[in-house]
């Protein structure tokens, strides 16, 4: 057994899994508070990456300034999508809303193809050194940053939903819109905020992925890859999204290891998460962490 490769893939799995978790959280956030399944989540991620890249390469901004600009841009973009595309659809059947987000995904893909072209572009080196050594293990700086940012985002999410006023309002809206309104929460504002947060965090994930690999439109596949993570965790659970993301990330890399070392079936990396998705849907249709309604006995 190739221990070195195994450890490498394990670390990869955790880091990629955390990223999946973060994107899955964005997905869950929108679903939970607005009951919209956002099929354009992957495009949100790529858009964030492209915007940051253009700011660095074309505008010549330092990386941190470009990063902050990206966050602001994504926030505005999220609110715009909610107000222009989804607000008029409130109360329409779920299938119409799903079609709208699929349409948005196609539209954004075409737009990004048009603006930034079809090729993969690497970020210029933004870190002083390419890798740092932690306990004898060489870790790429971009990976480390990815891990740290993922953890920060998760901690912020936790704080937001536990302690902040708007976080509580968002949970109340997810529970029952009429109840939230009766408490003085403006549901329209909560919806816009959910999309804004989701877009910001997607943008962060996009930049990180761009740093780790390269920016290209095909990265949008993460929006589909995240599905198993979301379903594994249960559509309405933020913790589930993180656990689901980690599971899928690790699973992919372990499948890759098993495939490359022993099985030689090819492409298990891509397929394994979806096998798990099917199995989990058969055993627990509401996901591992999905909450069935509380029933008092």
């Amino acid at each position: 057994m190739n221990i070195e490769l195994f450890v490498q893939l394990l670390v990869n799995g955790v880091i990629v899994g955390m990223l999946y978790g973060v994107v899955a959280m964005c997905f869950v956030l929108i679903y939970k508070s607005t009951q919209v399944v956002n099929f354009a989540q992957g495009e949100f991620v790529v858009l964030g990456a492209w915007v940051c890249l253009s700011m660095v390469i074309n505008m010549g901004l330092p990386f941190w300034a470009a990063f902050i600009f990206t966050l602001v841009f994504m926030m505005a973009f999220g609110v715009l999508v909610q107000v222009v595309l989804l607000r008029p659809l409130v109360g329409e059947p779920i299938i119409s809303i799903i079609m709208a987000t699929i349409g948005l995904s196609i539209f954004m893909q075409a737009l990004m193809n048009w603006i930034w072209g079809n090729n993969a572009v690497r970020f210029p080196d933004v870190f002083a050194s390419g890798s740092v050594s932690i306990g004898g293990l060489n870790v790429e700086t971009a990976y480390l940053m990815s891990l740290v940012l993922s953890l920060i985002v998760m901690a912020l999410f936790f704080w937001f939903f536990r302690f902040s006023r708007w976080g509580l309002a968002m949970r109340a809206t997810a529970y029952n819109q009429q109840v939230a309104q009766s408490l003085g929460v403006s549901v329209g504002q909560v919806f816009a905020m959910a999309w804004a947060i989701s877009a910001i965090v997607s943008g962060i994930a996009g930049v990180v992925i761009g740093l780790v690999s390269a920016v290209s439109n095909s990265l949008a596949i993460i929006g589909i890859k995240v599905f198993p993570a979301v379903i594994v965790g249960g559509l309405d659970s933020i913790v589930g999204a993180i656990v689901g993301g980690l599971t899928i990330g690790l699973l992919e890399n372990m499948a890759e290891f098993a495939d490359g070392q022993y099985l030689h079936w090819g492409n298990m990396y891509q397929v394994a998460p979806f096998y798990v998705l099917i199995v989990i849907l058969m055993i627990r249709p509401y996901g591992l962490f999905g909450t069935p309604d509380i029933e008092r006995v």
Partner: protein
């Protein structure tokens, strides 16, 4: 000044006393279903007002129309006006109304089941950003000592405790007028008594105005200063709590235990006194 004018003119004082006034309100659901047809009533500041009626009379709709929560159910106020605290609020957004001190405790309590008790209470103070909630939480726990002892998710509370939590959460918003939709629903007689006791205390000790919608006419009229009875989307009878309790029609239809009559007599009585 030569002429001593009375400090407040009668008409003005009446207007100041009135905290809520519905004038000929009509509510239509889904563009076709007429639920409120010319509903008019007033609630006075610092008083408990009861709104009684049978199932489907439009009591809950009235409260939702006042709080502005109709459009989530595809309903709208198509005619008439609702005045609160001197201002026309017929088309005001619901969050604005909560900020102005008008708070609805929804039927079935409307507590958020997958939040803890404290989170529910803090949510009640949503319209008061930056407020120090410690004092308010203490006050709620003083009124509802049971809630202090319970931990965990609100969904696991008993029905009575959930009702108390819902009322406590309303207090967190520091309201002027609380609308309560059937606080006695699904509670044992003993708990109903307790909840009504608390409602009366809130009214007396905090000076809260309360508009109470109830099916339990007996309890409601005992607690209320003034009562309205509604049928088919409008008020058919009103009077002070005591007067309504003595009223033969109310006894007959809502309180039970009216005079005994033969079946034939009851039928003719109903015919004569049909409030339509």
């Amino acid at each position: 000044m030569a002429l001593a004018e009375p400090a407040v003119r009668p008409a003005e004082s009446a207007a100041q006393d009135t905290i809520l006034a519905l004038n000929n309100v009509e509510v239509i659901f889904n563009d076709v279903i007429l639920v409120l047809r010319g509903m008019s009533m007033t609630a006075r500041r610092g008083q408990i007002t009861a709104l009684l009626g049978a199932n489907g009379a439009g009591k809950s709709t009235t409260l939702k129309a006042i709080a502005g929560l109709l459009h989530t159910e595809d309903g709208e106020v198509t005619r008439g006006t609702i005045h609160y605290d001197g201002a026309d609020i017929t088309r005001t957004a619901p969050d604005r109304k909560v900020k102005d001190g008008l708070f609805l405790v929804m039927e079935g309590r409307g507590i958020v089941q997958d939040m803890t008790i404290t989170e529910n209470l803090r949510l009640g103070a949503f319209t008061r950003p930056g407020a120090n909630l410690k004092h308010d939480l203490e006050q709620v726990f003083d009124y509802f000592p049971r809630l202090r002892e319970r931990h965990g998710l609100a969904g696991y509370l008993s029905g009575g405790e959930q009702q108390m939590l819902a009322i406590g959460r309303a207090l967190m918003a520091r309201p002027k007028l609380i609308l309560m939709d059937e606080p006695s629903m699904g509670l044992s007689p003993l708990l109903v008594k307790e909840v009504f006791g608390i409602i009366r205390r809130l009214n007396r000790e905090l000076g809260l105005s309360i508009l109470l919608v109830e099916q339990n006419a007996n309890m409601a009229l005992k607690a209320a200063d003034y009562g309205y009875i509604m049928e088919n989307g409008k008020i058919v009878l009103d009077g002070t709590g005591e007067a309504l309790q003595q009223n033969e029609d109310v006894k007959e239809f809502y309180l039970g235990g009216g005079e005994r009559r033969s079946f034939k007599a009851v039928k003719s009585f109903r015919r004569r006194k049909r409030w339509l």
